[in-house]
Amino acid sequence: MNEPVIRVQNLKKFFPITKGFLVKKKVGDVKAVDDVSFEVYKKETFALVGESGCGKTTTARTMLRLIDPTDGKIEIFGKDISHLNREKLLPFRRKMQIVFQNPIGSLNPRMTIGQILIEPLLFHKIVDTKQEAYDKAIELLRMVGLKPYHMDRYPHQFSGGQKQRIAIARALSVDPEIIFLDEPTSALDVSVQAQIINLFMKFQDELNLTYIFISHDLSLVRFISDKVAVMYLGRIVEIGDVDEIFENPIHPYTKALLSASPIPDPKIEKQRKRIILTGSVPSPIARPSGCFFHPRCPFKTEKCEKEYPNMYKVSENHQVSCYLVEKEGV
Amino acid sequence: MVPELFIITLLVFLIMQAAPGDFLDQYRLDPSVSKDFLQALEKQYGLDQPIMVQYIKWLKGLVTGDLGYSFYYRRPVSDLIGERVLNTLILSLYSFVISWIVGIILGVISALKKYSFWDKFLTVIAFTGIAIPGFFLALLLLYFAAKTGTFPVAGMYSVNHGKMNVWEGFKDIFWHLQLPAFTLTFGGFAGLMRYMRGSLLDVLNEDYVEFARAKGMPERVVIFKHAMRNAINPLITMFGFSLSSLLGGAVITETIFSWPGLGRLVYQALVQQDIYVVMASTVISVIMLIAGNLVGDILLAAVDPRIRLE
């Protein structure tokens, strides 16, 4: 088997909490990402799912070194980038691009689409001359389904879907190998979402891209990803092959998530047995003892309150951090 | 607070010292003042000592409550400030209160009648207030006073003030107060009004205002209970901040209207390089700034549970 392109090991990101009126004092940490490990292989789509505050976005941002990790390793193509300085990071930055949730916020409103596309080409020295950059920009626009005459327009003249296409074109412009997709369609209408998702699928095929896909939409995750990691309060609770996990979820939280996601089919909806969780996600500042999920878990045992469960291997492509595995003897 | 005060005063002191010349320069070109006499004065004022020695001496005095000595007035700085602080407060508090009341009321009207004639009219007034230089307005008012004789031209008291009884004296000051207060108010309320308008318009667009309507609250309750209190919030920080300008914000107005306040004293001291008066005013400004922000924070905590309970 080939080497993974991304290997994250025991990644941690803590944010200090300060308090005080005149003198600020550190009173604790928000453990946004706590001991997260996974591997991603080439041409794979790896999904990070979970509810808001679970740490999926922080994980991605730390991997991109947009924020510095507190501890752990981030290996990209076999090299640990967790402590590289700006300069040494640059080639990795080029290889790793990101498409954000909100296309409006990520495009400079004062620059034309042409300028937005040409700038990174010249900065990363993908091309040598302005003419080449211009030609390449037009090529990119075509690739994402826009027209050459769009070059001279400004972002506000485009619809949401078109803006996201521009963001994709910009990400693709520097020939990346890994693209982080941070809820890339959640601001889009349903009728446009499919266009964008199909575009991602097409480029992955044609350009051998590896995707890190961050989403709370499990239907979308199922459709697009190969592997999925379910996060809860900064930790991965279940990880593995998408189909296996969606067909046979083991962690009660994964189960709850799946059962809570609506299905556009009234008959199925009416027959479904829902696991309705009580309460909401606890604060990441004061996480429960033992398994973080135990206060909401319908299957909790005494053990769950005391000790955080290890990762158990369910199958070759499926791991879960829950004592249920032992009980069921999988 | 203490380190801020220390750094700022040291900075001001160094800047004052870095400026060419000193307080005595104004006498150096006077043929009737001899070199020996100037030297005697230098020694007397401590100007012959190294800068840091002068600063530390002043600082030591400050700790014991001694603000230093004015070269120009040859009196303790605390006396000079003491006899003017009330005058400045009368003027600035009066116009402060009026600016805030007028600014908030007009801002609310302007926001509620958005894009109406009154909104546009008040906007024009506000921008006039912001744009017109204070000294120009002050001079305009002076001419108005002189031509119509309705208001006294300058000063805080009539020359016969000392012979008036309490009520007459109060009326006398009140009468003198109007023009300078108008100058300050006109420049001050406009910003507040625009700020209040903007803030209220923002709040009126908030979901909770719409939700209050949707649950059937009368418009009066929607505006005054749900919108207004939220709209005032950002102004409270400003309120605290502008409190700090109460003791020093009106140099030009005070000078033009001959109002016997601190602004004039400090301005003159700056020009004359009367360093300890400047230093004292710096100390006052810093303390006022810190106190103002503190008041702002306390008020904000009082009205906003999010701040209070965190």
Binding site: S52, S159, G160, Q162, D189, V190, S191, V192, Q193, A194, Q195, I197, N198, D217, L218, S219, R222, F223, I224, A256, L257, L258, A260, S261, P262, I263, P264, D265, P266, K267, I268, E269, K270, R274, I276, L277, S280, V281 | K114, Y115, D207, Y208, E210, F211, R213, A214, K215, G216, M217, P218, E219, K225, H226, R229, N230, N233, D304, P305, R306, L309
Partner: protein, 336 residues
């Protein structure tokens, strides 16, 4: 039985500097007691403006240009749109309530939950503060907020998103309204919380026999909630039918394509069928089918005139010259 609420030929336009935005055109709908009508549509389809028009919460430069909203909950037929403004306050919150999309911003941050709850109760019911407070506590218990007595004293920021939406629902239902309008009430919430809230709303709706207008862009959510569904596109109703008909026998090409464009949790799909093109701009739209530019079944006629909303089958209305009749036998969702 007469519907409790009938909307007739409602149009609401916004007079902007760039031109007139015809946000809602000629909308008709009926809502019965104990019935859930869903309105589905994308951003700018006019679904939200429709319900705000019913509440008369349209502000300048918007204007309700035509139509009637007949309310029958007070033993007579009343056109809400022609009531005086102060009369309107006795309809809002008491007869017709509304829940907004974002629970984080629907509550005033400066007042306690109890205050915001009791002020509504006092406004509409002839009770004193103490009674109102007790009714408030009861309502919080109804929406399953634990320690209701204590939580009355809390401020919104002390609540999580789900709890806030519960509080909003408590306020909306506190005066036992006959109609509840829910404008994307769970869009801002996480999926597990969404499930809780939807469950709760459904339960309460059944309990109070409220007529509910439920607005969403999420076909999954609407599938579990609505008895009847209105599909809106480009400020007009495109298809109106029972939930089953919409999902299993969609007749309008837009509905038909939309159902194929969304991924499904319960199936492994190879491909999503994307709808080409962009949603329409809403300024100065001509009177033709708004979906025509993106429609693969477009006829010449479609770009020239506006199809009527016709009842093609009983209780199944479609606005289309070329409906998808050949897929009658529920090909829309391939059954496995």
């Amino acid at each position: 039985m007469e519907p409790i609420l009938s909307v007739k030929n409602l149009s609401t336009w916004f007079y902007m500097e760039e031109g007139v935005v015809k946000a809602v055109n000629d909308v008709n709908l009926e809502l019965h007691e104990n019935e859930v009508v869903g309105i589905v549509g994308e951003t700018g389809s006019g679904k939200s403006v429709t319900v705000r028009s019913i509440m008369r919460l349209i502000h300048k430069p918007g204007k309700i240009v035509s139509g009637k909203v007949i309310y029958r909950g007070r033993g007579k037929e009343e056109d809400i749109l022609s009531l005086p403004e102060d009369e309107m306050t006795s309809i809002r919150g008491k007869e017709i309530s509304m829940v907004f999309q974002d629970p984080l911003t629907s509550l005033n941050p400066l007042y306690t939950i109890g205050d915001q709850l009791t002020e509504t109760i006092i406004q509409h019911q002839d009770v004193d503060r103490k009674t109102a407070w007790e009714i408030g506590i009861e309502m919080l218990k109804k929406v399953q907020i634990p320690e209701a007595e204590k939580r009355m004293m809390s401020y919104p920021f002390e609540f999580s998103g789900g709890m806030r939406q519960r509080a909003v629902i408590a306020i909306a239902l506190s005066c036992n309204p006959k109609v509840l309008i829910a404008d994307e009430p769970t869009t801002a919430l996480d999926v597990t919380i969404q499930a809780q809230i939807l469950d709760l709303m459904k339960e309460l709706q059944k309990e109070f026999k409220t007529g509910m207008l439920f607005i969403t862009h999420d076909l999954g959510v609407i599938a579990s909630m609505a008895d009847k569904i209105i599909v809106m596109y480009g400020s007009r109703q495109m298809e109106v039918a029972s939930a089953e008909d919409i999902f299993y026998r969609p007749l309008h090409p837009y509905t038909h394509m939309l159902l194929r464009a969304i991924p499904r949790l319960d199936k492994k799909q190879d491909k999503l069928e994307a709808i080409p093109g962009q949603p329409p701009r809403m300024i100065e739209v001509p009177n033709v089918c708004p979906f025509a530019p993106r429609c693969p079944r477009r006829l010449d006629k479609c770009t020239k005139e506006l199809p009527e909303l016709v009842e093609i089958e009983p209780e199944h209305f479609v606005r289309c010259f070329n409906p998808v009749l050949e897929t009658k036998n529920s090909e829309a969702i391939p059954n496995e």
